[in-house]
Point group: C2
Chain length 207, copies 2
Amino acid sequence: MNGRSYGGKTQRERQLAREKILLDTGLELFGRDGIAAVSVRKICRESKLTDRYFYASFDSPEALLVAVYLREAKAINDIVMAALLANLDKPITDMLRFGLDRFLARMQNPHIARVMTLEIDVCGERGDQCRDAYVNELSSLLVSVKRQIQPAECCDDALDRWVGIGLIGTMRQLVLEWYRKGYQTPKQTILDASLHIWLSALGIRDT
Amino acid sequence: MNGRSYGGKTQRERQLAREKILLDTGLELFGRDGIAAVSVRKICRESKLTDRYFYASFDSPEALLVAVYLREAKAINDIVMAALLANLDKPITDMLRFGLDRFLARMQNPHIARVMTLEIDVCGERGDQCRDAYVNELSSLLVSVKRQIQPAECCDDALDRWVGIGLIGTMRQLVLEWYRKGYQTPKQTILDASLHIWLSALGIRDT
DNA sequence: CTATTTTGATGACACGCGACATCACATACT
DNA sequence: AGTATGTGATGTCGCGTGTCATCAAAATAG
């Protein structure tokens, strides 16, 4: 056998448990201090794991940050998608409202907000790839929504893709400023501003 | 006299000349490698100045980055404002188009784009303050444009401020992705996408 | 000419870093 | 039982960093 069990846990279980600890610690540290102030030593001190186990899972703090980002991106995706699917029968305006609301609720966690909007941008090539992939994914989702509203006309694919990117940037900046000012503004205001821009850009009459 | 002249230059002249060299070098290094990979030693090696002169002007690489940011922000402001004022007679749509065009032209310099959209966000409290100030300034400008179009109705100041922030975020993300993909997309496409979002969000009929 | 200031080059110091090695102890297998 | 493997604590290595001190050459001032 290649891996002996220990403490009642199989090798894989221990490995995954450690990975989860590292991911949680990473979210905490990156979200609190920023990646510029995080080192392998600090991660290990905070997580009470030896560097051996850090290197077993990740090559560098940057790699850990990317993993944290991917985990949170997936969580957000699941939550928002669930909200969208649960409101498929309602008018598109309400559907988007519920989706954005769940998104903002998630972003009300300052650590998540910081990692998703700030730190991922300064952790090298791999981080850029992930962010681009995620932004493009969201952008495509938006384009498909727009297509559902205006199926025939306005079919400039390239342009619409960039409009989608711009609308993602809208959310990003709103979340960033919201976070930076300590969430003093009510979520509803941020939601209203987002919705206003999104609906008008998608050609839906504002309510 | 407190400062002796040297090489035909007064003390103040030499000081300012060195500061300019440091700002130029900073833009080059921050824009090429990112602040995470820049140190006092590297700045000095690249600029051929001793660390004594670096510390005479700035406390840290972060402080230099902030100074670079402020210089470029002012340059952008001057250029965009000039474009706006030169087209005050034209319809608002065209005015905004010219302003955005000058803005994008500036952002076509990859070093400027990187510093303005990425690096400034991860250089500590002081950098955050500058970015917030700049974003709020631009946001206010947008709000005043909207006020000029719809003076009476829709007077929710708080909401409009956040809409302005969101629209700044639009530009930011568009520039970021444009830069990240090596400016392969024509400037005109980025401009069209920006304008589409801006005009619709400001309640101006799209052309 | 001489004294003072400015400049450039170099070295020194303590510190935190990534990365790896060592060693004693705990648990698991046979 | 005894052997093999997992685990945690600690130490060590070279490196780049921020910061400061030193020293010789160049230019200015009186």
